[in-house]
Every structure is written in C-alpha cells, then in structure tokens.
C-alpha cells in the first residue's frame, strides 16, 4: 500500500495511432511515476512520441491501453489541476502579458481582484513585473515563454506539464530559462513533467529522467539524478553532472568520451 497517491502514475502505457490504412505504434509499454513535488523529465529523440506521453497525461489525447492516473484519479479527459506550457508560447496577441496570465482565471470564473493580484505576483516570479502591460509582439521569444509559464501557474494547478518549452529558443536564452525554471520550481514545488531532448536540461532540472528510445517509444532506463538541491548553475560543470550526461548519452547512442 502506497503512503500517498502519486502526482502522476503511468503504467504499461500503449498508444497506437490509427490512420485509414495503417496502425502506427507510438508508445510501447511506458511506465513511470512522479511523486508530489518531484520534477521528472521524459527525454528521447525527436519524433519518438514523448509529446504523446504528455498529451495523454493532460487528457488531450486518448491512450490505447494502460494506466494513467493524476493524484490517484484515472485520467479520462482534460483536467483543471494541470498547467500546460507548450513548445511555442501560444500567447494571445491581442492581450497584454498580464491579460494573458489572467486567462485561466477568467475561464475558471475565479474572483477578479484576487486573480489580478496573483497574476502580478506570477509575472514578478518570472521576472517580468515591468512588462505586464506589454503586448506579446513587444516581447522577446524568451520573455514570451516566461509569460506562458506564468499563465500555466495562474490557476494554481497541482501539476505542471512542460512540452519542450525551450526548444525553439537560442542556446543562451535556453540556459537562462533553465535557471529561471529551476528557481520557479523551487519556489512553487509543483509536481512537474518536462518533455525535452536536451540531456543537460533534463539533468539540471530533474529528480529523475525517463529515457525513451526511438519510435515506438520504449523506456531505455530511468536515470536518477542524485545532485543535491538547491542546485547552482555551476553544477553543470561538476564531474557528477558530466557522469550522468555520459550515462544518458550512452543510453541514447551518443558517445561523449
């Protein structure tokens, strides 16, 4: 008997996409668990189906078979206890940063004054307090993605799902946002699932890394990241860090040494 329900429990997950004349297997028996407050990454090559994992957990795509539970409850459709960050910022061009962050509260019909205060706090948290009245086109790509993170946290979801949120950004911005995300996560401690294909990004942020092989995605290994928290950016240069890079690199077929 488990002491408490996992934030996310995925067991024996299969997904097959059916088209008119063929069946394309995408996920082939994926299992992992995220405990409350944990940060777990799913890492794999492009097009291996890692985004499918996230979409099934979010209730946006139906699974073929297997167990998917959030907070101990089987996922049957979209759930409001989830905050989503996509590969693109997906901000509404006609709204300011603050109004974008306010969207979830509007849809959920939350109290106005309270949500405005929370939205301002969140913009402050992502370092955009001074940009709250700017429109998305007036913000850089990295800033837009920060607004998207603030929006994902706006209705105080229990779980944060991040679908390759930084892969469209340049390396420097990406590094910066990795550090920011680590800080945001440490302050809010949301159970988080990050989809990524960057090995250093996954290690830097996660407690554990689920490494997937090429399509159809099978788990190659679940790699623990025993680096102590709080983590400094310089941890990425430590020998322990590089050992994990090497281990995962070998798993996915990249030889660093």
């Amino acid at each position: 008997m488990k002491a408490r329900a996992a934030a996310i429990e995925v067991a024996d997950l299969y997904k097959t996409y059916t088209t008119a004349d063929s069946k394309i297997p995408a996920l082939d028996g994926v299992s992992f668990r995220i405990d409350p407050g944990e940060f777990v990454s799913v890492l794999g090559p492009s097009g291996c189906g890692k985004t499918t994992v996230l979409r099934i957990v979010a209730g946006l795509t139906a699974k073929t078979s297997g167990v998917v539970e959030v907070d101990g409850v089987p996922v049957t459709g979209p759930q409001r206890k989830i905050g989503l960050v996509f590969q693109v910022p997906a901000l509404m061009q006609w709204r300011t940063a603050l109004q974008n962050v306010l969207l979830p509260a509007e849809i959920l019909g939350l109290d106005r004054a309270g949500s405005r205060m929370r939205a301002r706090e969140l913009l402050n948290l992502v370092g955009l307090a001074e940009f709250s009245s700017r429109y998305p086109r007036e913000l850089s790509g990295g800033m837009q993605q920060r607004v998207a993170i603030a929006r994902a946290l706006a209705h105080d979801p229990a779980i944060l799902l991040l679908d390759e949120p930084f892969s469209a950004l340049d390396m420097m911005t990406r590094n910066q946002l990795n550090i920011e995300l680590l800080r945001i996560w440490s302050e809010r401690r949301k159970s988080s699932l990050l989809i990524t294909h960057s090995i250093p990004e996954a290690i830097f942020l996660s407690d554990r890394i689920v490494v997937l092989g090429p399509r159809p995605a099978r788990i190659l290994d679940v790699v623990p990241v025993p680096l102590p928290r709080p983590r400094e950016p310089s941890v990425r240069l430590s020998l322990d860090f590089l050992r994990i890079v090497d281990r995962i690199g070998r798993l996915v077929g990249l030889e660093y040494v």
Binding site: A58, L60, P78, R80, A90, M92, L103, E106, Y135
Partner: protein, 262 residues
C-alpha cells in the same frame, strides 16, 4: 501625423496634381471634344453647378452600399461562425455558398427588380449579394485559424464552447474579417451601381446612365469621380475601425525604414 506620413501624402498629392494638370493641358492642346473626354475643369464646373443634386444622388448610393455591406457583414460573420463551430454543416453550406458565388449577380439584378420593384431595396440586395462571399470566406478562415495550442489550453481548462469562441476564435479572426470587409465594401459599391443601372431613378449609377443617354460626358465623369470618392471614404473608414479595434495587428507607427507599400 509623422513626418514620413506627411511626406508620403505630399508625394501622392503632387503626383495626382501633375496628372490632372497633364489631362487638362492635353484636352486643351489637342482640342478633344468634351463629349469624348471632358477637361477636369469642365468636370469640376459641372460638379459645382448642380452640387445639391449630386449630393442627393451620392447620398442614395452611399445608403444602398452601406446597408448592403452591413447586411453582408452581419450575415457573413454569423454564417462563418456556424460553418466553423458546427463542422457537420460545413460540408453542406460551403458547396452551396460556392455555387451561389458562381451565379453572376449582374444576371440576377433584373430579377430582383421584378420581385422587389424599383425602390432602394433591390439595390441593397445586389450590394449584399456581392459583398457577402468575401466576408464568409475570410471570416471562416479567420475563425478556424486559432493557434492549436490555444485550443489545447482551452480544453485543458475545460473552457466552454462559448468561451473558446469569444476568447480565442473571434479575436484571432478579426484581422482576416477586416481584410474580407475591405474587399466586400468595394464590391458593395459595384453591387449598388449594378442595381441602379438595371432600374431606378436615383443614385450615381442612374446619373451615369442618364449622362450617357444625353452624351453629357462631363456629367458621367463627375458621377464617376464621386463614386470613387465614396469608395475611398468607405475603405478608409474600415481601415480606421481596424486600427482602433485590433491595434495589436499592425504597428500603428509607420515603419521608419520607409519603402513600405501603401
């Protein structure tokens, strides 16, 4: 106005002035008969002589155009919304609309005369018919052009259909709806004129018919000038609304690099 906009306006005005001057000079030098091509001065004179008469006819045409256009906007946007929100209807409605669009409206105009008489109503209907299609097409494509991630976000938050429509679809569609309206308003003028050509005793289209019958070319030119003016003003009005309603779409300041197409 910024100095760049001012400069651009000045350039345009000078070019137009030069063209009118050349026209006047050619008419005088070559002694072209006024019933073939009247000099600008004659057109202006004609405009001035009977300005109250022209004002009434212009007003009639503006009324028909605007009424037809507004009907097209209302029905067009509602139809576009139905097509997008109820996908099952799209397969039926879209082919029907396409067939309706392929029917030449000029050919239908005489029939409208039989059905609705010689008043303003048949003209409004023709204007409506020609303006309707671009609004439906642009509206539907605009309403369907929401970023898929936004729709995912909406369904993740369990947004209602109504919320998805008003918060995501409508704002995303506004830029395309406005470009549809710009096409539609110029078509609506043509529709109103066709209606007036076919039958009736009012409006700038009627004035052109009368002018032709009397070989009063200066009058025809005057009417055409007024028609163009109506078109420009209506178009500018829509652009103004566009700037006010969707300031996020186009930069409000002209680009400082210049060379941007007008």
């Amino acid at each position: 106005m910024t100095s760049i906009a001012l400069q651009r306006a000045l350039k345009l005005t000078l070019t137009l002035a030069a063209m009118v001057a050349a026209w006047e000079a050619l008419c005088r030098l070559l002694q072209i008969p006024a019933f073939l091509i009247p000099a600008p001065s004659e057109v202006v004179l004609r405009l001035y002589e009977k300005h109250d008469l022209y004002l009434i006819h212009t007003w009639i045409t503006i009324y028909e155009t605007t009424a037809g256009f507004l009907l097209a906007v209302a029905f067009g946007i509602v139809s576009a919304a139905i097509i997008v929100v109820i996908p099952r209807l799209r397969d039926v409605v879209m082919p029907l609309l396409l067939v309706a669009q392929l029917v030449p409206k000029v050919a239908v105009a005489p029939l409208l005369l039989i059905w609705f008489g010689y008043g303003l109503f048949p003209k409004i209907i023709v204007a409506f018919l020609v303006a309707f299609f671009p609004i439906v097409v642009n509206g539907a494509s605009g309403l369907a052009s929401v970023q898929p991630e936004l729709l995912d976000l909406g369904s993740s938050l369990q947004a209602s259909r109504w919320q998805t429509f008003w918060k995501f679809r409508v704002p995303s569609a506004l830029p395309e709806i406005f470009s549809g309206m710009k096409i539609a308003v110029t078509l609506a003028i043509i529709g109103a004129i066709i209606g007036e050509f076919v039958g009736g005793n009012r409006g700038l289209g009627y004035l052109i018919i009368v002018a032709n019958q009397e070989l009063d070319t200066a009058l025809a030119f005057a009417a055409i000038f007024l028609l163009s003016l109506v078109g420009i003003v209506l178009y500018a009005l829509i652009e103004m609304f566009e700037r006010i309603l969707i300031p996020w779409h186009a930069p409000t300041e002209p680009l400082t690099t210049g060379g941007r197409a007008l």
